[in-house]
């Protein structure tokens, strides 16, 4: 459990700063620091066991189905890294307390920092590669926040995005690599995977996995060619740079390579990829670092260079080299963190980090200078400091490694070391030595111990390890290297190996060369400035920006908000898919006997088709198009009659009438003609698309009608049960209100919703000033003088009750004969519409006692309650009952609960149609018309009541 707690503590600690910041900055830092300290203490408690060679494990099941579990283990490597992360973390917290300005939100900073710390600890303690991946990506995210912490700096923003893109992207690649490893090993547990070296290296998937995992590692550790993001991350506050970009995050890649070393290393692929990347990075970054004027940039490239060095060592694939790598990791962490903090102090005090504006700080900031001096000398590899020890070992390893030629590696490593010496001394010489200047942006002097305490402690380590490596560090190197190489290691570190080793001479050459380069600074700088070189940010932007622009243009080109394109693509895709599906299965033509064609029917068919086909040709005059569409709809009525569907004929007819009224109401607001917009080829294309769909659907219809169903249709039950079971002889109606009453329930709700939506939109429209303006302009040029001709009004007075009577009749007989609540509702609605047309909406509606909403609401409620009424009898929703009633002297008649449901249908339909049309009428009133107070316009004989 302890390991899980160690990993969890920083995350829990991330919640603290936000709360503690109210108690003051020091309290905030103390609280945060104590969490880290607690974690460090817990780690220390585990250390003895690890140093004895044991492995501490914790396992919590999380997602066993996937093999993702919260499994942690602690070995030497983990101990080393966890110690570095927590220890340096503690120092950074201390340092940041004094570094951050009053205006910087410190709580936020510590929260981000703790998130990051937790993620890092998680990486190094994970015993499950999926878990490791989670922490891995979390470091990318939290570093994104940290780098972008100063939101106002565009460099910070871009730097953060670049870091996230590169490291996050690399992490994605690593996911694939890890999954491959897991699949080969049969487990995602690291401890298991680490035992499958042979299986993994023999697998066909070894190389892809290696490349993918290395992509993750290289991006994180800023190895060539992914080194470019790191300097840009320097826009972050210095504590961040010191922590992430020297001590921890960038080392996550190294950690991973070290972690996977037992299973991945030792192959030629590993050697070539890893050591080459490391070597190139080391040399190239060192050279760049030499020419950087920004202290932090210099240190950043120096970091990249040192990471390259370590990568190279790991790439060699030998135990000795790996051991040296581990040692250098420790050393680099100490001196580089100290240097970053020093740079931060300089920046903090002098308000600049530009070497060209610095110099002479030696006397102004003696403490800072001392720290910087020791750390730089260590970085340069000057004895007896710790940097010297690991550099010697490195040079020795390089000298004995054959890379292309036996000597190339040694030469290049020496050149790298030479640059390293050069930039280290330049850091000192241009920053601290030389005369005191009088043009610093701010008068520098040594800060308080709060700021220099942390680097001073680190430099102390630099010196102690340098002087007494065997006592102070060898045990840690042993246990960590042992974990990396999977075998016991007993390292021997000494300052003097005699005159034989190549490293001595290479070292001397490096120091000499480095000093000479610094001496020749001015001409070298001029040469450097004269050399064109790729600027990382420009290249990155050159990739990302065009990518984003391409994405944008692609997206907007494809999704151009064109309905016609959407439909055309959909139709073609559907047709293609259907054709493809059809061609893949066996097909027997239908065997159903066909119905003979009557001449009359054929003629009327031809008339219908003529009307339909003509619509595309004359659709631009909209009323005419509506008339032709109406003809097709009208002629469907006799079709349904002919084909034994009286209910359908009734419904089609009444819906058709209401639809035409609706369309005309709408057309009043819309342009009356459609301009010709599509060019002929486009029209031809559209016709082709439509034609394909038409042929396809027509052919499917043919196939459907000419065969019998493979199984007996379920409707045989409806026919058999209509009378005895549902109490009605009109089977269509019993299906609608009983067998499938639930469909009808849904259907009326659709209508109700439609009306509500229409009402809501029309309400909105009436509130808009632009709409009101346009409405005023919709009146036709020429208008008849009378709005409500008397003849229509008088006829309506007769027709209205008559139509209602027909409606009642259709409702009542629906269960047994064609009709029903739906058609009845429409007939009633048509009757009301007739009244509205005759005397106008305002006059007519003023004489109506209820709101249309209420009709809809009651319709829904009645239908729902009539369905739910069955519950009272313990029966399912919509279960109906019927009874034949005999009341003297009347004939026997039937009472069916389905009729109540049908009443709900009726009300809902009526309310919906009226509400929809009323909404449109209300809009029409905004065209500036005057409400009438009389039923009809004609002057003479009027009545009043």
């Amino acid at each position: 459990m302890t390991l899980a707690l160690i990993a969890a503590l920083p995350f829990l600690g991330a919640l603290l700063p936000g709360l503690m910041i109210r108690a003051g900055r020091t309290a905030c830092a103390t609280a945060t620091g104590s969490v880290t300290l607690l974690a460090l203490a817990l780690l220390a408690l585990q250390a003895p066991a690890v140093l004895r060679g044991e492995i501490v494990q914790t396992r919590i099941d999380w997602l066993p189905a996937l093999g993702l579990n919260a499994t942690f283990f602690l070995d030497g490597l983990g101990l080393l890294f966890a110690g570095l992360i927590l220890g340096i973390g503690l120092l950074i917290i201390l340092y940041a307390r004094f570094y951050l300005a009053k205006s910087d939100p410190m709580g936020q900073f510590y929260s981000y920092l703790m998130l990051f710390q937790g993620a890092m600890v998680g990486i190094v303690l994970s015993d499950n590669i999926l878990l490791l991946l989670i922490f891995w990506e979390l470091t990318s995210l939290s570093s994104f926040l940290l780098i972008g912490y100063w939101k106002h700096l565009p460099e910070g923003r871009q730097g953060a995005r670049m870091a996230l893109a590169v490291t996050g992207g690399g992490g994605l690649a690593m996911i694939a690599g890890m999954l491959i490893l897991g699949n080969i090993a049969g487990s995602y547990d690291l401890t298991v995977i680490l035992q499958h070296k042979e299986a993994i290296q023999a697998s066909d998937w070894y190389l892809p996995a290696l490349i993918l995992i290395l992509l993750g590692a290289f991006t994180k550790s800023a190895q060539f060619p992914f080194h470019f993001w790191l300097p840009h991350a320097m826009a972050a506050p210095t504590p961040v740079s010191a922590y992430l970009h020297s001590a921890t995050m960038v080392k996550a890649g190294l950690f991973l390579m070290a972690r996977m070393w037992p299973v991945l290393a030792g192959t030629p692929e590993w050697f070539w990829i890893v050591s080459t990347a490391g070597l190139v990075t080391m040399v190239m970054a060192a050279k760049i670092a030499f020419f950087k004027d920004d202290l932090k940039a210099l240190l950043a490239f120096s970091t990249v260079s040192h990471l390259g060095l370590i990568t190279m060592l790991l790439g060699f694939g030998t135990r000795a080299a790996a051991t040296v790598a581990v040692f250098h990791i420790i050393n680099h962490a100490t001196f580089k963190a100290a240097l970053f903090m020093t740079a931060g102090i300089v920046d903090h005090e002098a308000h600049t980090r530009d070497l060209r504006r610095l110099g002479g700080l030696r006397t102004l900031m003696p403490i800072t200078f001392t720290i910087a001096l020791l750390a730089s000398l260590s970085m340069a590899g000057i004895p007896p400091l710790n940097g010297f020890l690991s550099k010697e070992l490195m040079l020795e390893e390089a000298a004995h490694t054959t890379w292309i030629t036996p000597w190339a590696m040694g030469v290049l490593a020496t050149i790298g070391a030479m640059f390293s010496v050069a930039y280290s001394f330049r850091f000192l010489a241009h920053g601290f030595l030389g005369p005191v200047r009088d043009d610093y942006p701010h008068a520098p002097h040594d800060p308080g111990p709060g700021l220099w305490g942390a680097p001073a402690f680190l430099v102390l380590l630099v010196v102690v390890i340098g002087l007494f490596p065997m006592a102070s560090a060898a045990w840690l190197v042993d246990v960590a290297a042992g974990a990396v190489t999977g075998a016991p290691v007993a390292v021997k570190i000494s300052h003097w190996h005699g005159l034989e080793p190549a490293a001595l001479w290479m070292s001397i050459a490096a120091v000499g060369g480095g000093l000479m380069m610094l001496g020749a600074w001015a001409p070298l700088r001029a040469m450097w400035d004269g050399t064109p070189r790729p600027e990382a940010k420009r290249i990155f932007d050159g990739i990302i920006e065009p990518l984003a622009a391409l994405a944008r243009s692609l997206t907007y080109a494809i999704h151009n908000s064109s309905l016609s394109r959407a439909i055309a693509v959909a139709v073609l895709a559907i047709a293609a898919a259907a054709l493809w599906a059809f061609s893949g299965g066996s097909h027997a033509p239908g065997s159903r006997a066909l119905m003979p064609v009557e001449p009359v029917v054929a003629v009327i068919w031809a008339v219908t088709m003529a009307a339909a086909v003509s619509v595309p040709f004359l659709h631009r005059i909209r009323v005419v198009a509506l008339i032709f569409v109406g003809v097709v709809g009208l002629l469907l009525v006799p079709f349904f009659v002919l084909m034994s569907a009286p209910d359908l004929a009734l419904t089609q007819l009444s819906v058709e009438v209401v639809t035409i009224l609706l369309m005309l109401l709408a057309l009043n607001f819309l342009p009356k003609t459609t301009p010709e917009e599509s060019p002929a080829p486009r029209r031809l294309f559209d016709a082709g698309v439509a034609g394909i769909a038409g042929i396809g659907i027509g052919w499917l219809a043919w196939e459907m009608m000419t065969r019998n169903a493979a199984f007996e249709p379920i409707s045989h039950f409806h026919l058999a049960q209509s009378k005895p079971g549902a109490g009605g002889t009109n089977v269509v109606n019993t299906i609608l209100v009983d067998f499938r009453g639930y469909d009808t329930f849904g259907e009326i709700i659709v209508l109700g919703i439609a009306a509500l939506a229409i009402y809501a939109l029309s309400e909105n429209l009436m509130r808009s000033p632009a709409v009101t303006r346009r409405l005023a302009g919709t009146r036709p040029e020429r208008e008849a003088g009378d709005r409500h001709p008397m003849m229509l009004v008088v006829s309506t007075r007769l027709l209205l009750p008559m139509a209602m009577m027909v409606g009642v009749y259709i409702y009542l007989r629906g269960h047994n004969m064609p009709g029903g609540g739906f058609v009845a509702g429409l007939v009633f609605a048509i009757a009301y519409l007739m009244q509205y047309m005759a005397s106008g909406y305002v006059w007519s509606h003023a004489r109506q006692r209820y709101d249309h909403h209420v009709l809809i609401g009651w319709g829904v409620l009645i239908a729902t309650l009539s369905g739910a009424g069955a519950w009272a009898f313990g029966l399912p929703f919509l279960t109906s009952g019927y009874e034949y009633v005999h009341v003297w002297p009347l004939e026997e008649f039937e009472l069916a609960t389905a009729a109540i449901f049908d009443l709900g249908v009726f009300l809902c339909v009526l309310g919906a149609v009226l509400l929809a049309l009323a909404s449109l009428s209300r809009l029409a009133q905004r065209t500036g018309e005057v409400a009438n107070t009389r039923a009809y316009d004609t002057e003479a004989p009027q009545e009043s009541r």
Binding site: L130, I175, R552, L554, G725, G746, G752, E763, V860
Partner: protein, 502 residues
């Protein structure tokens, strides 16, 4: 056993909506109270249904007391119960957000329409009848039309028109497909179809294949599968934010139906259709993924960015569904749970931003917004979820899918990983320009009502993601059983008691 409660997710909102329209049309407060009450009840019912489905197996509700397949049935199984639960949970967040943000007061009828939408979606999840599925699709669609144009405005209306028009064509396609289904098989009951189709005469195979493809493509339209996705960006980007959040579950209806039919009615071992649907959906899902991710990277307004994020998540879901194996289906279900909450959260965050920001364009700066710190944190969390970054459930969902696709690793893995990369880029770019742009720092933000309820709702969704992450173990075990039951539907069919009344 749940008895009548199975239909409660349909009847309850219908009744509440009817009541609102009838009696409390002009009283916003009353409607809010009723709306929240209804949804809280719905959550309780959904929870009970979920429990019952998990412990008692599939249960069938015979509407009108008619035997299947002649009447319509509702079927409560693990999958439908889960989807109803998801719906209810999302609805709670949405209704609270709508009240908190005042969206529900920006036009008439928000609350009844929302109730009807819940009814439609819940009904679609629960129904055991193919034609009834169409009816409930239409209910949810028309309610969504109403909600889509809630609040009005020129572009919203026009986008709504495109949405409606395209979906009307989708509805037509649905009816074509249902007619074919009935004419070939003579039945509409899903269990009946699942039972009968293996015995289909060979000569009908081709027609059945066409039927299957047409049906699935209808669902693909709802699910915005490329190339049927064109309706989504405009619709989601122009819908009120809170409505768009609710729509996050609407696309899942398409995914749900695809799964229900693809796994149960046209399973891979059905001789007539075989791997037809697999071959259709999987590639389309992958392309959808890419289209969505490219859209996220290329979007120039926040709502469009989120909309494309939604497309990408549907691409992921369809990719997983399209394999039609229990393992991938289980992963797909987890991903569906995740992406519904994540997409909704993202839409709510986007709405928080847009209502405070002078404009929605990402390419141009705008004055700072009120509560920027809190909102940016919410954005970050939602973006992490959408992009499938750790530690939220999106990452687990992605891992589950990747792991389930180990047989098709090169293609599927690379597409999913590349898409993740593009998503990360897109969300990071958008986030930094929304919250970090320097010119966004100049003026002081407007004072704004704190909208505690709106933030609570957004937090609630994110908390859901956290829960989904922490409980991933038990959840995936449960989903595994659910997925298995789809490919071995004996219990589902048996619960229908087919032919006992014929």
């Amino acid at each position: 056993m749940m008895g009548h409660w199975i239909i409660a997710p349909v009847v309850l909102p219908a009744f509440m909506a009817g009541l609102m329209v009838t009696a409390m049309r002009n009283d916003l407060l009353l409607k809010r109270v009723m709306g929240v009450t209804s949804i809280v009840l719905l959550n309780a019912i959904a929870l009970a249904l979920l429990w019952s489905a998990s412990t008692h197996g599939p249960q069938v509700y015979f509407l009108g007391d008619w035997p299947a397949p002649f009447g319509i049935v509702l079927v409560l199984d693990r999958l439908s119960a889960m989807m109803v639960m998801l719906l209810a949970a999302l609805a709670l967040a949405v209704v609270l957000y709508a009240i908190g943000s005042g969206w529900d007061a920006k036009g008439a009828h928000f609350h009844p329409l929302l109730q009807f939408l819940l009814m439609g979606i819940g009904g679609a999840f629960l129904t055991g009848d193919a034609f009834n599925l169409f009816v409930f699709f239409e209910i949810l669609l028309i309610a969504s039309y109403g909600l889509m144009i809630h609040g009005g405005g020129s572009e919203r209306t026009r986008a709504g028109l495109q949405y409606v028009a395209f979906n009307l064509i989708g509805s037509s396609l649905f009816l074509f497909a249902l007619a074919l289904t009935y004419s070939v098989t003579g039945t509409l009951n899903i269990a009946d179809l699942a039972q009968k189709l293996p015995d289909l005469p060979e000569g009908d195979a081709a027609l059945l294949r066409v039927t299957a493809v047409l049906l699935i493509l209808v669902f693909a339209i709802k699910g915005a599968l490329v190339p049927l996705q064109f309706w989504l960006p405009g619709t989601y980007a122009n819908a009120p934010g809170v409505v768009a959040a609710m729509f996050a579950v609407m696309t899942k209806v398409g995914a749900y139906a695809t799964l229900r039919f693809g796994a149960m009615v046209f399973p891979p071992d059905l001789p007539a259709t075989g791997t037809l649907l697999h071959a259709l959906i999987l590639p389309a899902g992958l392309v959808t993924l890419v289209v969505g991710a490219v859209g996220v990277l290329g979007a120039s307004t926040l709502p469009r960015l989120v909309a494309f994020g939604g497309i990408a998540s549907m691409g992921t879901a369809f990719t997983a569904i399209g394999a039609f194996t229990p393992a991938t289906t289980s992963a797909a279900l987890y991903y569906i749970l995740h992406s519904t909450l994540a997409t909704a959260a993202m839409f709510l965050v986007a709405d928080l931003v847009i209502r405070r920001r002078a404009h929605a364009r990402l390419t141009e700066t705008a004055p700072p917004i009120a509560q920027s710190g809190l909102i940016s944190a919410l954005y970050m969390a939602a973006a992490i979820a959408m992009a499938g970054m750790p530690p939220l459930s999106g990452f687990l969902g992605k891992l589950l899918i990747l792991d389930a696709f180990r047989d098709q690793a090169p293609l599927v893995w690379s597409v999913i990983l590349v898409y993740s990369f593009l998503m990360i880029l897109g969300y990071a770019r958008a986030g930094s320009s929304l919250f970090w742009k320097p010119s966004a720092m100049e003026a002081q933000p407007d004072e704004r009502a704190p909208e505690g309820l709106a933030f609570t709702a957004t937090f609630g969704l994110l908390a859901g993601l956290v829960a989904l992450t922490l409980l991933a173990g038990p959840v995936t075990v449960w989903l595994g059983i659910t997925a298995d039951s789809l490919y071995a539907p004996q219990d589902y069919i048996a619960a229908n008691r087919l032919g006992e009344g014929g």
